[in-house]
Symmetry: none
Subunit: 151 residues, 2 copies
């Protein structure tokens, strides 16, 4: 269980060490994309988005910037089910979850106040702090359900 700078929030004093953080266009580009995406993105995905915009940033640099941001607590970092590192801007603006069709991929955004409350309560019961959660619902959307029923 080696645990270094991988996931999440290490509340660390900002600007404690002597290393300063330079403002480069690559860093701004990454930050801008994160601002616009409400959900977690993998580094690979973010890199692809940057390419689409023309603000191409090297893949290695994308990794470095995201790690650096996570290290400073400016973004949330965790792993998705595939084991990829995923990041999200820390501000919890419009937290929501997804209802996904496992056949056509269609996604519906859903809110889950009950789940939020449950997660918070459960975590507190066990003494856990700095809590965060992921919830995904997989199923067949109406169209795909009909298609499968039909034949």
């Amino acid at each position: 269980m080696s645990q270094d700078a991988t996931a999440g929030h290490s509340p660390r004093p900002a600007a404690a060490a002597g290393k300063e953080q330079r403002v480069t266009k690559q860093r701004l580009a990454v930050s801008a994309v994160l601002d616009e995406l409400p959900d977690f993105v993998s580094t690979q995905e973010l890199h692809r988005i940057l390419q689409d915009r023309g603000t191409s940033v090297s893949l290695a640099t994308s990794y470095r910037i995201l790690q650096s941001l996570a290290d400073d607590g400016l973004v949330d970092a965790l792993r998705n089910a595939d084991g990829e590192a995923v990041y999200r801007r820390c501000a919890a603006t419009g937290h929501h979850h997804h209802l996904l069709c496992r056949n056509c991929g269609k996604a519906v955004e859903v809110e889950a106040p009950a789940v939020e409350a449950w997660a918070a309560r459960t975590a507190k019961e066990h003494g856990y702090t700095a809590v965060e959660h992921t919830v995904e619902i997989y199923g067949l959307c109406p169209e795909c359900t009909a298609r499968q029923a039909g034949g």
Copy 2:
């Protein structure tokens, strides 16, 4: 969107497919180790333990066996903070979720009847069928919380 046998529980009918499961000494050895370990082990770790015991099993086979066990719902499978797949014998046989410490990896199994109900209701509202869901809560366990607060 590859979400198959990765994290958590996919309630699937046991022994549904035509493939039978043969009882080999490798499979028994892996199963025996899992029985003795109360916590999550990575495949690499389990492989090392097997070597120490003399019941050496190939690394690739270890991967295959663990995946197969997880596929049959006989073990819990998820990812630790390093992105490694980790497995543990399923204490609770029923459907449940996890409360994970993002610092030390400690896991607590929790039940969430409210979440189950919410997921089912939400899916139905949107006309989704054959529903399944994943829920994970990440936070800092009491010990790690104290450690971080202290210094």
